[in-house]
Symmetry: C2
Subunit: 349 residues, 2 copies
């Protein structure tokens, strides 16, 4: 059964639909659109689609340096101001499509069809793009929501266990950031692997409706939406240290959450029992709860300095006041920060 709801943004409302057979629906509604598709999914496109741009989904292609190449393909496909773009793929395709649609001839309408669980349950709404530049991860980007988000549950069956778990984790994090009741409600939807299409749809719709509150309250990432970054400053630093190998994004953020909770406890914001509870939940999901092997506390700390969430040079961290109640702290004691990292390192300091 299809479910549908709207998201309000400064550029107007856009619509989110979750259900089956949505790929067929978009192709019949937009036969002349330009389809920007993850090349691994090229085979799933109906033959009737002739205007397509296939993209290899990797970090190198998600860069400002590569954008002229992508936009030239738009031009060669005959796109004009009134053309429609349909993007089908995961986060990298979404980033490239958001950026392309936002700047081609000063902006064209587009539709997004996420194909990973992370995309379906989290990134597909909110309108953000993140683009690398000259080796700087996600240094550029903007906000340009699609006209419509179509979540076709058929893509769930193309995902392996790691991909599903990573996505379920992001969904959990959203509900967690909203509050303990929301987090319990999420757990009651039985987020597990393998998932039926039905089960997946329930989990995804719950996560998106929770995220809807954050992005409608704070579209441009000024305050409330920053809470969704719980664990991310630590997680990003570890991802950078690992060169985006070994760990999925969700795994790095999980380990980051444990460090953030530990630091919150050291600062007297929560008690140690709360930290243990988070750690146990993550362990039960098969997620890491320590720094990645080989990473030192000091090494991770140094990589945290260049996070773009830092304000006026000071590091801003999302810390807990209770499970499900986070706040932004900008004046964290450097010794306690290092102590929280060291406590979870797998190498000596």
């Amino acid at each position: 059964m299809q479910e549908s709801f709207d998201i309000s943004s400064s550029s107007g409302k856009y619509n989110v639909v979750a259900g089956l057979d949505l790929l067929e629906q978009v192709v019949s509604e937009h036969p002349d659109a330009i389809y920007m598709v993850d090349e691994r999914l090229a085979g799933t496109l109906p033959k009737s689609v002739t205007r397509k741009i296939l993209i290899e989904a990797n970090e190198g292609n998600k860069s400002l340096e590569k954008m002229p190449e992508v936009l030239l393909k738009m031009r060669e496909a005959g796109a004009n101001r009134t053309s429609h773009l349909v993007a089908i793929g995961g986060g990298v395709i979404q980033d490239i499509a958001t950026f392309t649609a936002s700047i081609y001839m000063r902006g064209i309408p587009w539709t997004y069809m996420p194909t990973t669980l992370l995309g379906m349950a989290d990134s597909c709404i909110g309108g953000k793009s993140s683009i690398n530049m000259l080796g700087y991860k996600n240094l550029v980007g903007n906000f340009y929501p699609p006209e419509r988000v179509l979540i076709d549950m058929a893509f769930i069956q193309t995902l392996n266990a790691d991909q599903v778990v990573g996505g379920l984790f992001e969904a959990a994090k959203i509900c967690y950031a909203r509050g303990y009741q929301e987090f319990l409600a999420y757990l009651q939807e039985s987020p597990t692997f393998p998932m039926s299409a039905d089960n997946a749809q329930r989990v995804i719709v719950r996560a998106l409706k929770t995220k809807k509150w954050f992005i409608e309250t704070d579209e441009f990432d000024q305050k409330e939406r920053l809470l969704l970054n719980f664990g991310h400053t630590f997680g990003h630093a570890m991802e950078t240290a690992l060169g985006y190998r070994l760990w999925l994004h969700g795994e790095a953020v999980a380990a980051g959450m444990v460090v953030a909770a530990d630091l919150s406890a050291r600062l007297g914001r929560i008690d140690a029992v709360a930290t243990q509870r988070i750690t146990r939940i993550l362990e039960r999901c098969g997620l890491p709860t320590r720094l990645a092997p080989g990473l030192s506390a000091q090494g991770v700390r140094e990589l945290m300095g260049v996070d773009k969430k830092s304000k006026s040079g000071r590091l801003r961290l999302v810390l807990l006041d209770a499970i499900g109640s986070a706040n932004i702290a900008s004046d964290v004691d450097e010794r306690l920060l290092l102590a929280a990292l060291s406590a979870h390192a797998q190498v000596p300091a």
Copy 2:
């Protein structure tokens, strides 16, 4: 005397101020901002400004290929999400600054200080950027208005006659597009060269307040704002044919307006007297009223085909119904179009 008014946009109101000593004011309000400045104006910056990016204002630098270089300079200057950008220069600097501010770390606030009459009287409001890409003129761009526009009349004295006339012409065109009464009111402000700062301020504020109606009614160029493109489809084609040499933008658009008026008459939308009146006004301003020397009607027509205002492959032209009343026509008879161009060519067809 300073004058100030607001412009409403989907991302909130922004403020426009015209007067003297505004450069000093912005430097004292934003001592730590990053200043992006036309390199020819580097000498006008107070010594206290230390974070600056000097840019050679040319079409080549206003390109997507060159943006990574500019954004890298932002990074090297230490810009973060809360940094402020101040841009000082003409249209090219405005385009580069709009684009930079819109995508650096997903958008930072900025202030624009136009230094050409075209910038002061027209382009400084509306929030548009136009960026070249791989040889395609203005193929990319977006909308990202500054937080504030500060028009310092001192810059008027740095302009030569051609630059002033080009700017006065754009201002005239805006008032003209709004209606005959608005156009008469504009002429009463005595737009001439040389101009005193006082005189310039009156002309500029009138043009901007007129343009305000267009951009508040149609922020994203869907309908009313297209009327400001009167003469532009013809003008752009001539500029392209001339390789952006010989004629200023305003001169190409002036010649384009005559052809557009002639075509409107051939289609029976206005009478021939109206065309003659427009031609006489432009001649009196010293502006061209025929195609540039060496350009053929057919040559200009072919270059009109790729204008991004074309919809579904069809050419959309802004044509007159009366002086000061324009509308968009999308089904223009090709023979009449060529006849209007031929009638103003300086070479045999």
